[in-house]
């Protein structure tokens, strides 16, 4: 079943890795649209780091939960990593959305915001969602426009949290002094988890099946 809203109730595969030339990522992905459609992808979003040249974050929305392991084994991913020049295969997050929290203000500027992504382990995903819900006004004051929480299929403690923040200054303040409920920020970069990703959306592709 497909969702009308690309960001809601979507299962997601996310990977954060380095490429020799980040400018090649988006056009190469566009050329693989039919291959992505073949594995059930319906949306692909690409972010590039604004502080760490060569680092990209790619999220792929897929239609079905069942084939995730098989899907990860498919040649599509390996061919993709080969095409963009990735030698070492990165760890991949696979999960589903828990909730999308909108904290934008009515007078929100239309310029794209800065995206901060974190993959981390939390004690309880439901409690975290409730805490974020209770902190929306503080998030808004801090310049956070949106927070999307995804939980992993393979680990009930593991989350991917994507936040859009007004601008670089607000993002820096958020990283240096996150809200008390944003404890996931300190869990990024531990073990298999990549460090905090700070970047901008460079493209979103919708794929019709």
């Amino acid at each position: 079943m497909r969702s009308a809203d690309p960001q809601t109730h979507s299962m997601v595969i996310a990977s954060d890795y380095r490429v020799p030339n980040p400018d090649r990522v988006w056009p190469l992905l566009q050329r693989r649209k039919s291959a992505l459609a073949g594995i059930g992808a319906h949306h692909v979003l690409v972010y590039t780091s604004t502080h760490d040249y060569g680092r990209v974050l790619v999220t792929i929305g897929v239609r079905s939960r069942e084939p995730i392991v098989e899907l990860l084994r498919s040649r599509v991913f390996f061919d993709w990593f080969d095409a963009v020049g990735v030698e070492d295969i990165p760890a991949v997050f696979a999960g589903e959305i828990v909730e999308r929290f909108n904290s934008s203000t009515p007078s929100q500027p239309t310029a794209p915001g800065v995206v901060i992504a974190a993959i981390a382990s939390v004690d309880d995903v439901s409690i975290l969602a409730a805490e974020i819900r209770g902190a929306i006004s503080r998030f808004q004051t801090a310049g956070v426009r949106e927070t999307r929480v995804f939980k992993a299929f393979d680990d009930r403690h593991e989350v991917l949290i994507l936040q859009e923040i007004d601008d670089e200054d607000a993002a820096r303040r958020w990283i240096e002094h996150p809200d008390v409920v944003a404890r996931w920020m300190t869990g990024a970069g531990v073990g298999a988890y990549p460090p905090l990703f700070v970047g901008k959306l460079v493209g979103m592709m919708q794929i019709d099946g």
């Binding site: 990860l72 390996f78 295969i89 382990s121 393979d154």
Partner: protein, 57 residues
Amino acid sequence: MFVCLCNGITSQVVADAISKGASTTNQIAAACGAGADCGRCRRTLRRLIDAGCHPGR
């Protein structure tokens, strides 16, 4: 996190192998299959070894 895409092995499974004594990528491959095929996840496996067998917690 899925660490080894060839065999669908997660960081938790790798952490478990490390906690049971695996301390090299070859030992991890023997214990759970991660890194046993194409071997392109071995850098991540080494990171997990260096992190002290923690998947993230």
